[in-house]
């Protein structure tokens, strides 16, 4: 293989079941 000058390598996982109801500003804005 070709040697690679790596800055960063990642396996970026998202666990949706553990998310709060909203990702963004959050419920406080709604109230």
């Amino acid at each position: 293989g070709t040697p690679l000058p790596i800055l960063v390598m990642a396996l970026y996982g998202r666990v949706f079941e553990k998310d709060p109801p909203r990702l963004g500003q959050g419920p406080k804005k709604l109230q």
Binding site: P5, L7, L11, G13, D19, L23, G24
Partner: protein, 448 residues
């Protein structure tokens, strides 16, 4: 059509002067038309080059520096596509809608689908308990006009980003799709890409082939830069993604591309100039028909079978974008390391060409809720170069590296099937697919 030509335009938005008081409708339209003048050149050129659809960025027509009051003159009433409306033919049907008229005519006169991001206003009154005090909702809105200029899609951004105080959340998340002669499309905006609803739902339940994706994304190294993250999302979700970003080097906004599941077709990343960039690429209308279409991956299959490597190591904490990772240093030019945090264990096997004294690398694991500028749960395995040989700098943004890896294999005991693989090389360049592979058992591995 079996294939189509997609176009994406990274636009250097002409930002209105920040004002305390709202400007007049006329002045607002003046500014929006300045931006649309630039977008028009891109649309015309893309159409001349045979593009079937062009995507332009979020906030591309008026920018993002507003309060709820000062954005009001820029907003129009945008009806639902069910009304069967072509603004270019019937501009007065829904009141004062000059921006929709102009976008519709751009699409019609150039026979191309045009995707743009504008603002929608909806009046409400006291009978609606959620109605804001000023009697209206304001929505960050993507609109799509087909090649006849007809409004075929309207999407209200569900996951507003923290600074977007000028807009309201829609009451619930709507999944918006539209059909074309070159496949079924989904649509969402910027921060939505982190979400299950609508981002995963539109792919898995609505079975779209491609996503149009206006964004105004500022890059956060090392893990949340637009091009590596969004191309990895297209790879993992196995759909085409047409990502049009704004261009503003002062705010680190750059990074657009046309990403197919099997490969990055074209991307643009430019922190040097202040100009926009048009990109085109041919895509399969149905990515599944491509022989190189990726097979499903069981991301934890390999890692579950690994006995943790027990080389003498001393773990240390480090922060990436406010998340506290557990790191371990790669002390030799070759070796096997395991680092764990909570339920997640990350395994790395690697071979460097040479171990440089002036560059330090670390393997990191994070299993937790990210809580800054949004809240979402992550499980991340990462190999990264530390900013300096001081281990306290691991996790800080890094731009260049001289250490070369001849071989690598990264895997993790993920508790999710939604894992996005990315490799960024020195100079913020994406690693071409020919240099690495993603095995069905979840390993991100160098190609021998």
């Amino acid at each position: 059509l079996d294939t189509f030509i997609a176009a994406v335009y990274e636009h250097a938005v002409i930002l209105p002067n920040k004002t305390e008081m709202p400007v007049s409708k006329e002045e607002a339209l003046l500014y929006m038309n300045k931006n649309i003048d630039v977008l028009e050149k891109a649309v015309k050129l893309a159409a001349r080059m045979g593009a079937h659809i062009i995507v332009t960025p979020e906030d591309g027509i008026y920018g993002w520096e507003f309060t709820r009051e000062t954005i009001y003159p820029y907003l129009e009433g945008i009806p639902a596509p069910e009304v069967n409306w072509t603004p270019c033919k019937d501009p007065k049907r829904f009141g004062y809608t000059p921006v929709q008229e102009r976008l519709s005519c751009l699409a019609k006169q150039n026979s191309i689908y045009v995707v743009a991001n504008i603002g929608d206003k909806k009046a409400c009154n006291a009978s609606d308990p959620q109605c804001p005090p000023d009697g209206r909702y304001q929505y960050n809105t993507n609109v799509v006009f087909d090649s006849q200029g007809k409004l075929v899609a309207r999407y209200h951004k569900y996951n507003l980003f923290e600074p977007e105080i000028q807009f309201n959340f829609p009451e619930d998340s709507k999944v918006v799709t539209f059909d074309t002669p070159f496949g079924k499309f989904g649509i969402f905006t910027c921060f939505d890409i982190f979400s299950h609803h609508p981002a995963v739902v539109v792919v898995e339940e609505f079975q779209v082939d491609s996503i149009v994706f206006p964004l105004a994304w500022y890059n956060t190294l090392p893990l949340l830069s637009a091009v590596p993250f969004q191309s990895s999302w297209a790879r993992a979700m196995r759909v085409n993604l047409l990502a049009a970003n704004t261009h503003n080097t002062r705010m680190h906004m750059t990074g657009s591309g046309i990403y197919a599941p099997e490969a990055v077709k074209v991307y643009h990343y430019d922190m040097e100039t202040h100009s926009g960039q048009l990109m085109l690429s041919e895509l399969k209308s149905r990515p599944q028909s491509d022989p190189a279409y990726p097979t499903p991956v069981d991301w934890s299959a390999f890692a579950r079978g690994v006995t943790p490597f027990s080389s003498a190591q001393s773990d240390f904490p480090g922060t990436i974008y406010f998340d506290e990772f557990t790191f371990t240093e790669l002390k030799q030019n070759t070796g096997n390391y395991t680092v764990c945090q909570k339920d997640l264990c990350c395994h790395l096997t690697y071979q460097m060409s040479e171990k440089r004294a002036d560059e330090v690398y670390a393997l990191g694991a994070f299993d937790g809720l990210h809580t800054v500028e949004g809240q979402y749960y992550l499980q991340i395995c990462t190999l990264l170069k530390c900013h300096t040989p001081d281990l306290r700098t691991c996790g800080e943004p890094v731009g260049s590296a001289f250490t070369k890896f001849e071989e690598f294999s990264l895997s993790g005991t993920f508790g999710t099937r939604y894992v996005f693989p990315q490799i960024l090389l020195s100079g913020s360049q994406l690693a071409p697919e020919r240099y690495y592979e993603i095995l069905r058992d979840g390993r991100l591995k160098s190609r021998s």
